[in-house]
């Protein structure tokens, strides 16, 4: 069909888009532009400074309780890690003293780095450079010490003992490595509610007070005493760390010839003298304080999804005061914001080669949120929300991740602004809809105020700042493979291994219902195994990787003397079991129901034969499968399967208990749909073997043929609130379609309708296929091309070819 646009034709739009791009850069001050350029010149690297400090402390203090070892190691790191202030910086600090350096944590896992030591700099996905001296130190001093002592090894041993390794390690069926090869992360600690208000010194005082309640003569108090002492040591560590920055700034100021910069450095020094030890008093102190908080988290553990949460809410009082008193102009505020935002990009989450397939693009998932409602249900957007949105738009950095909250009364201006940022193609912001997210939180038994105050962490996960402890992703579980197992009596097609349970010869199913219950048997098994791995991982972290720093920043932990790994947080849930391939599942089930059981145009035997051969020689079967109803087209016949499976999975997952709460379901497989696709043979919906699975709750690639409204309708039929860990929905969008006023207005209508229909999340992948193909050919010219891979942004040229190809293959929504 012919699609036309208004007078401003495409080429004019493109020119305009270019102008916007340029203007955006012009909107940055020269300082910010320089910092940004300096960032891009740095290659990601591995820092072993923290590993050295940790190893040293563990070596010298055998027998000390782990929580105290961790705290001492943290303190030592604060003492010894190089400090560095870069040219022009206003907000300072890094957990390795080096831009884009990842923090290696051997006590969590080290074997992966041993295996990759000689190749990590050249691996396809997310390479890191390393100094030869560091490699030597690792080989000779660090690795040997940790042999048999890391979280990774403990978990591996237990799972091996239970005979579950083939299904859960490196399998693509259930991926349970995440929490064993990394710190836990996935938390929005109370940077705004605790750190800005009390400072680490205040927290330490609280811990001292709390300590008085406990007596080592009581068995149950001993752990609490250790924990509180650990909290105090980590608080001291952070005060020391910031002092070192204060001193460095002072020193640099003394050496500085440029008057303006000297003043800035002096001011930085004063700021670091004050925060994060004391409560923040002004905007710069607030930004510096929460930044140090972020650094502290990475110093405690290299982990994903340390998310600052609703920054436009908790920073607003500081912002407003400084603006009102005139000590800060809006230009100065904007520049400070940019300097602060850019720091998040400097912090990569260090990953093994295997895990980097799942979380491609040096992502840290440090999510900041804007808009939404206040605790008492009013619209929460303010000037700062707009200013941060604008800054993110101009900066075009892949971190921090940016999420906006939309509710029934969100101002039109805010929604138009979202469109304005989306159309720049940076892949941000992710849009979250309040009604559904609030329902998710309420199901955890939180107060209505806390639910309204939810934040978004990691990729797309609603959480509660400083209050809720929930691992989003312990196991990433492959859903479509359950269909395969039911069609093979438990045998994986690509490997020939028996990984599923025996549910009978597929040709013996007399009704569709019999078949469906076989599939669900397979599911139940996968979920059961996922639950087991989750509990084992949680126990390992509890024993071997308690987290005094993160705990210190969560409500109730200090008061109760229990850290987050002992269930000390105000609210607890999870761990989350994350499923991939909802769309593929629905398509597979619809095809079988229709072709095999209803129309009877295809026998089960022939279907199974065709799937085994990846449809080769079975073109007619392939065509019938492809033409069967597809999820994402507002067709109840097939959408019902998506709805059903999310309900079913949620009930099933919720029936298991983690250490501190019900296990929870998430449909947000980040990038896991790509590696998990590799282990799934051809599916009855017509997806060929080893291709990526559908991501999150998005339709399978290229099968949504009725445009965005139909996709939204299909997605929103699902009871998304059952997927309490979060929901991910990606939609590719041609930026030209929202380039003019009419396009933007329709975009806003699309968002509002999504919200009314019970949507949870949507994110737009706003680029053209041509641009991407060209970027594959000429990566040099597309260094700053940002693209969304299932729920987060990364630089396109830094992704591996498979993921690039898969992005290109998604259906473009070009019918605006």
């Amino acid at each position: 069909m012919d699609v036309t646009v208004r007078e401003k034709d495409q080429s004019i739009m493109r020119k305009r888009m270019k102008k916007i791009g340029k203007k955006a850069d012009d909107a940055l001050t020269p300082r910010v532009r320089e910092i940004r350029e300096a960032f891009f010149e740095v290659k990601p690297s591995v820092s072993i400074e923290r590993a050295k400090a940790t190893t040293d402390v563990y070596k010298k203090n055998p027998g000390l309780p782990t929580v105290l070892l961790r705290a001492k190691a943290f303190y030592r790191a604060c003492e010894t890690i190089p400090v560095k202030i870069h040219e022009g910086e206003l907000i300072v600090g890094h957990p390795a003293g080096k831009r884009r350096a990842g923090v290696f944590c051997p006590e969590i896992s080290w074997r992966w780095l041993r295996d990759e030591l000689d190749t990590i700099h050249e691996r396809e996905q997310d390479p890191y450079i390393m100094a030869d001296d560091d490699k030597k130190t690792l080989r000779e001093e660090i690795f040997p010490f940790w042999e048999g002592k890391s979280v990774d090894e403990y978990v591996y041993g237990e799972i091996e003992e239970l005979g579950l390794l083939p299904l859960t390690f490196n399998s693509g069926v259930i991926d349970g490595e995440l929490k064993n090869t990394n710190g836990a992360g996935e938390i929005s600690v109370g940077l705004g509610t605790i750190l800005l208000q009390k400072g680490f010194k205040g927290i330490k005082r609280d811990a001292e007070r709390s300590l008085k309640k406990f007596d080592p003569k009581n068995a149950e108090d001993i752990e609490k005493i250790y924990f509180l002492k650990a909290v105090m040591t980590t608080c001291d560590g952070m005060v020391l760390f910031s002092k070192r920055y204060a001193e460095l700034a002072k020193k640099l100021a003394n050496e500085e010839e440029n008057e303006t910069r000297r003043k800035e450095l002096e001011h930085i020094s004063e700021t670091c003298q004050r925060v994060p030890g004391e409560p923040a008093r002004n905007f710069q102190e607030a930004l510096q304080s929460i930044w140090f908080g972020q650094v502290a988290l990475f110093l405690e553990e290299n982990a994903p999804s340390y998310s600052p949460g609703r920054v436009d809410q908790y920073l607003y009082p500081f912002f407003k005061r400084d603006m009102a008193s005139g000590v800060m102009s809006s230009e100065e505020a904007r520049e400070l914001i940019c300097c602060w935002l850019i720091k998040y990009a400097e912090m990569p989450w260090l990953l093994s080669k295997f895990v980097s397939m799942y979380y491609a693009g040096y992502m840290g998932f440090q999510n900041i949120n804007l808009g939404g409602q206040t605790r008492d249900g009013k619209d929460a957007t303010n000037e700062l929300s707009y200013m941060i949105l604008d800054s993110v738009k101009s900066l075009k950095m892949y971190q921090p991740s940016l999420s906006v909250r939309v509710h029934n009364n969100s101002p039109q201006e805010f929604l138009l602004k979202i469109g304005d940022v989306v159309k720049t193609g940076i892949g941000f912001p992710a849009v979250h809809f309040d009604d559904t997210s609030i329902k998710m939180m309420l199901s955890y038994g939180v107060s209505m105020e806390d639910a309204r105050d939810y934040c978004v962490l990691g990729c797309v996960e609603p959480s509660i700042h400083g209050k809720l402890s929930q691992w989003s992703a312990c196991c990433l579980t492959n859903f479509p493979i359950a269909v395969e197992f039911a069609l093979t009596n438990g045998v994986q097609l690509v490997s020939g291994k028996k990984l599923g349970v025996e549910t009978g010869d597929p040709t013996s199913f007399r009704t569709f219902e019999e078949f469906e219950s076989a599939v669900k048997e397979q599911f139940k098994y996968l979920i059961r195994v996922s639950a087991i791995v989750s509990i084992i991982s949680q126990m390992a972290h509890k024993r071997y990787a308690p987290k005094p720093l993160a705990s210190a920043l969560m409500d109730d932990c200090v008061e109760s003397g229990k850290g987050i790994m002992s269930g000390g947080s105000r609210y607890n849930a999870g761990p989350g079991v994350i499923i991939a391939g909802t769309g593929d599942y629905a398509n597979a089930m619809a095809a079988i129901k229709k072709l095999v059981f209803e129309d009877k145009s295809l026998s089960m035997q022939r279907l199974c034969d065709a799937l085994k051969k990846d449809f080769e020689g079975y073109e007619d079967v392939y065509k019938a499968c492809v033409n069967a109803p597809k999820y994402g087209n507002d067709d109840d016949y097939v959408d019902a399967f998506a709805t059903d499976i999310v309900d079913f999975a949620a009930k099933e997952v919720n029936s298991y208990n983690g250490l501190f709460g019900k296990m929870t379901l998430g449909t947000l497989p980040v990038a896991s749909h790509v590696p998990q696709g590799l282990v799934v043979g051809a599916l009855p919906g017509g997806r060929k073997a080893t291709l990526p699975l559908s991501d999150g709750i998005s339709p399978s690639q290229g099968t949504d043929r009725n445009g965005p409204t139909a996709v939204i309708k299909s997605v929103d039929k699902i009871n998304l609130e059952a997927s309490t860990v979060g929901v991910l929905h990606n939609m590719k969008l041609d930026p030209a379609l929202i380039a003019d006023e009419r396009g933007l207005a329709n975009f806003v209508a699309l968002l509002r309708t999504h919200n009314h229909l019970g949507g949870a999340h949507i994110q737009f992948n706003c680029v053209s296929a041509e641009k991407l193909l060209d970027a594959q050919k000429h990566p040099d010219q597309y260094q700053d091309l940002m693209i969304r891979v299932a729920g987060y942004s990364a630089y396109f040229v830094e992704l591996c070819k498979e993921i690039q190809d898969e992005i290109i293959s998604r259906t473009p929504q070009s019918r605006w």
């Binding site: 699609v3 208004r6 007078e7 019918r815």
Partner: protein, 314 residues
């Protein structure tokens, strides 16, 4: 009156945003009284269901020929390759060949749908219309060629408070148009050429009836958007445009014209002719000169109308 409640539709497109305000569903009617040579939807012209053949996809396997109950498809030896012949006159559009073709090389344009069928698709996006001030547009083809069906569909929309629009070529009986207006919130009306002979040459019909209908329509209280295709060598000249604008100014006594949309000729329809076994007479026609389009836009404005150039996005 025995209302005919089945319509012949060749597509329903959701999320259309260039055929009226807001987010809309566009219903494409099959059958048109004109035969504009530049038509980009040639499959819309005939009222019968038509087989479309995608040569690139065809593997010349011959399954379609076997499947056709009336033997309307034949694979004929020939060089350099086998020819795939379709007897389009005899084809009834039964879709047997479409079902069997393993390569999706065959498709039938046109299917008979009840008002309920179409309306249920329309209703699927109801909330989107509400939030965007959008609605439904009947296009095609010529919706007024199936007046009872169109009227009933529009009536159902209005019953549900859905904004309605129609795209018409104007070459229909006035009583038919009039019968639809009751249920219409907006009319897109095409004016292709002011010279009746040229009009006849290029569209197969003279323009008197169209202009007369335009005149009548402008007297009724319904907002109108005039659409003028700009086709290279046919009407891309100032003279014709000025004549058109003069005509419109003269008759726009109720100020019903919201704006004038200029639709530059594009080639997106060319391959469709081949799929229908027809040749596109204008296949080498260049797209209109951008400078002229710009001037045309200015000209429209100089007559006091709002103008929009509806550029093609590929």
């Amino acid at each position: 009156m025995n209302e005919k409640k089945v319509g012949r539709i060749f597509d329903i497109q959701k999320f259309s945003i260039h055929d009226g305000p807001g987010i809309r569903t566009l219903v494409f009617f099959k059958g048109c009284p004109l035969r504009c040579r530049w038509c980009s939807n040639p499959e819309s012209q005939k009222s019968t269901c038509e087989l479309m053949y995608y040569e690139q996809r065809c593997a010349l396997c011959g399954k379609c020929a076997e499947a056709c109950p009336s033997g309307n498809i034949e694979l004929v030896e020939g060089s350099p390759r086998v020819r795939h012949n379709i007897d389009r006159e005899a084809c009834k559009g039964c879709r047997e060949c479409v079902k069997i073709c393993p390569n999706d090389a065959l498709k039938v344009a046109g299917s008979d749908m009840s008002v309920d069928d179409v309306f249920s698709v329309i209703l699927q996006d109801y909330l989107f219309y509400l939030n965007s001030n959008g609605g439904v547009t009947l296009g095609g083809g010529e919706p007024a060629m199936q007046p009872e069906f169109a009227r009933e569909l529009l009536r159902r929309c209005k019953q549900n408070d859905i904004h309605t629009a129609i795209e018409t070529c104007g070459y229909v009986g006035w009583n038919v148009l009039e019968s639809l207006i009751e249920y219409l919130d907006l009319v897109f009306f095409d004016i292709k050429h002011m010279n009746s002979d040229r009009h006849k040459t290029f569209t197969g019909a003279s323009n008197e009836r169209i202009l007369k209908n335009a005149n009548r329509l402008l007297k009724v209280d319904v907002p109108i958007i005039i659409r003028i295709p700009i086709v290279t060598g046919i009407n891309d000249n100032e003279e014709n445009l000025v004549d058109t604008l003069k005509f419109l100014v003269r008759h726009n006594t109720k100020d019903a014209i919201q704006r004038i949309e200029l639709l530059p000729y594009h080639k997106l329809g060319v391959t469709k002719y081949r799929r229908l076994g027809r040749t596109c007479e204008l296949h080498d026609l260049p797209t209109p000169n951008p400078t002229f389009l710009k001037q045309a836009g200015l000209l429209v404005r100089s007559f006091g109308f709002t103008s929009e150039i509806m550029e093609i996005r590929v």
